[in-house]
Amino acid sequence: MTKYLIRRILHGLVSVFIVVGIVMIMIYSLMNRDLIFAADNVYRNLGNNQKTVYKYRMWQEFGYMTYVTYADYINMLYNNGEIDDATRSSVISIGRTSENDSPETAEYVAKFREYYESQGYAVQRLNAIMASARKVATGGQQQYFAYKDKPLYTRLVNYVTGLFTVDNIHAVKEDVGERGLTFTLHDPVYGGKTFAPAIIGNGTTHKYLFYVDRTFPYVHQNLLTINLGKSYTVNAGVDVFTTMTRAQGSYTPSVITYPSGLTESSADDLHSAVYVPGSRETSRVLSDRYTDDYTSVQTIKAGFSKMGYSFVIGIIAVFLAYLLGVPLGIAMARHKDKLIDKLGTIYIVFIIAVPSLAYIFLFKAIGGRLGLPTTFDMESTGKLMYVLPIVSLALPSIGNLMKWLRRYMIDQMNADYVKFARSGGLSEGEIFSRHILKNAAIPIIHGIPASVLGALVGAIITERVYVIPGAGNLLTIAINSYDNGVIVGVTLFYALLSVTAVILGDVLMSMVDPRISFSSKAR
């Protein structure tokens, strides 16, 4: 069994990464990359050479290519100690055309071309565009740069290897004094007196590697960070995983004591402190509060995360669906061709045939008439706003469950073992609950992990219609704003969930049905 599961998991992982590869090909190679500028006002206002350069720079940010300017190259040489400051300042600016370059500059211009062309880059020089004989046109400054598309293989390998980062005491390059980890039983964030174990690092990216607080699941870690891909437009600069899991809503301030001893009411979460080099020197606010450069903190917010909202609504809907769908399906099968079966069938036809958009709007309209809130509000503490989204999600699943459970039970009703049980004198109730239901429920049980994990993903239409700040819309928003990092990250997340759901479903099924075995021995 274990061997089989390991093989299944490895198999699943391979197909997940193939999916990520396919998605990368689709968005990076097949899609027209000029589309990202469709709604870009900066791009629209730029002109001439500046526009071209902006295009390449944005393509680099969106992950299409690597892009190096001549100035970057000269600064790199300077940082490596190959040239001195005087040479740098004399060669860093190039002439309006290549004929105007000074001999020394021309030498480095040629070096730049040689260096990057040997690495497979395309090198491009844009001559200055003149408005008059002496005046350069707006944005027409001369440009010199090299660019190279990232090949799929490197892109995929970089992505996969960068998925997890383990924090270590050599993560910060700057001088931070003595590097090391300290274990304390009295977390300084809580005043240093209450019992709260924590591991604090110096030289690590995060200050707190392990800590305890009052929010679920109480023990937290910053040692392992998951990077699904950085967002550029949806949630600029933030990782997809963080976008999905970070709390939203208004700040919840509390009285906290900063490392410097300053006490004030703030929503800062000191446990999330991340190293920012030189931050105290430039900011008075930070130097007043912190004693080291671990100054970048998250804020504590009142609402759930995107995934949190989706999951709360989704999981209640799933629970409700099984609670109602299973008994209704059984009732339909037991009273086949009676009134309840006919009513149930009408409901199922309605749910399957009518476009989901139509009945969600119908529920919204009916709910609105009944006085239920039809839009979601993160600031409100009322629980009534959850009612309509949950109902909209639960009703179709109820219909689906009823349909399949009825089908499976009716199929079982004609089986020989049922006839035998009946001839043995068992009552109909016993036959249904002891024999038929047990067999008919197996495929239903197989689907439970998928529906529970599916709740994490969220629902596209429901969340849009009721304006829920959930995770369901993340993919569509990312597609609409060409946020490649988010698209890839969300795809990986979806694919992982669906592979896990299938494996869990099989395991669960083999647990409830002793006839199903995945170990090779039984076969």
Partner: protein
Amino acid sequence: MNTTLSADDLARIEGMSDAELFSHISHDDLESEKITAPRYSYWRSVFRVFFRKKINIIILAILLFVILFTYIYPAVSHYDRFANLMDASAKHLGPTKAMEKFGANIHWILGSGASGQSTFDAIWNGARISISLALVCAAINMTLGVLIGAVWGFSKKVDMVMTEVYNIVGNVPYILLISVLVLIFSPSFWTMVFALTVTGWIAIAYFIRTQVIIIRDRDYNLVSRCLGTPITRIATKNILPFMTSVIVTYIAVEIPSYISYEVFLAYIGMGLSDMSLGRLIYEAESAMVTPGWGFEFWSPVVLASIITVALYVTGQNLGDASDPRTHM
């Protein structure tokens, strides 16, 4: 023969000789091999069972009416979406107001929309696009799905490859695939067809493959194979008849699902550029909450629902009727 002879007939026959009563028929080897049985035509039986239920006749009539109307009405109504664009007083009118303004004719029984266009004309135009899309997609996907599924079910080598392909393609988010294709090309009708069919057939093929595997190894097929029946004949004569009801039932779910899907895609802003039903719903979404504008929003929703329900119920019942076990 169960015709009872009357007394008169008996009296007439009594006086006849054998030669008068019987005529001699020559022996025929071919004729003697024939087995007499009541005439059975599969499709005639299907329709006999289908039309036995009165509700089916009603729904089929509704469906035929809707489809005919969808294709004939836009052709004769000369709908111009922007005809009243400049007339500010023509926009967002309820049915009664629109008919007061433009006169009581069929165009205005559902009021007017955001650019003063007739809602009634708009929804039938939209329905034409949506139904065409659903029919074309269903035709392509079902043909590919059934053919590939049959091969997939028969060949063990193909099975291994295709199962992997299925596992991988099944994990690529469908919305992503469609939106990328729509972005690469323009969101035209045929792009949409391509996007919905490029991987759409694989689920059908998988379903057919499972059905084929179930029937493939039944005893009568093993016998047939031992007797040397070629595989194509087994596929077309032994297996296909068994699958007819399954395929028809599948089509019944498939066609309405494309209409629903088109509505869904239009709603999330990735649909057609033509004014299909989905696009009408998408554009009229704000009208739902505005008092007095309800007709703009609910008309396409209700029409889409009527079409999908009628298609679904007809298909399901036709699927039931095409199961030979119901022909008794």
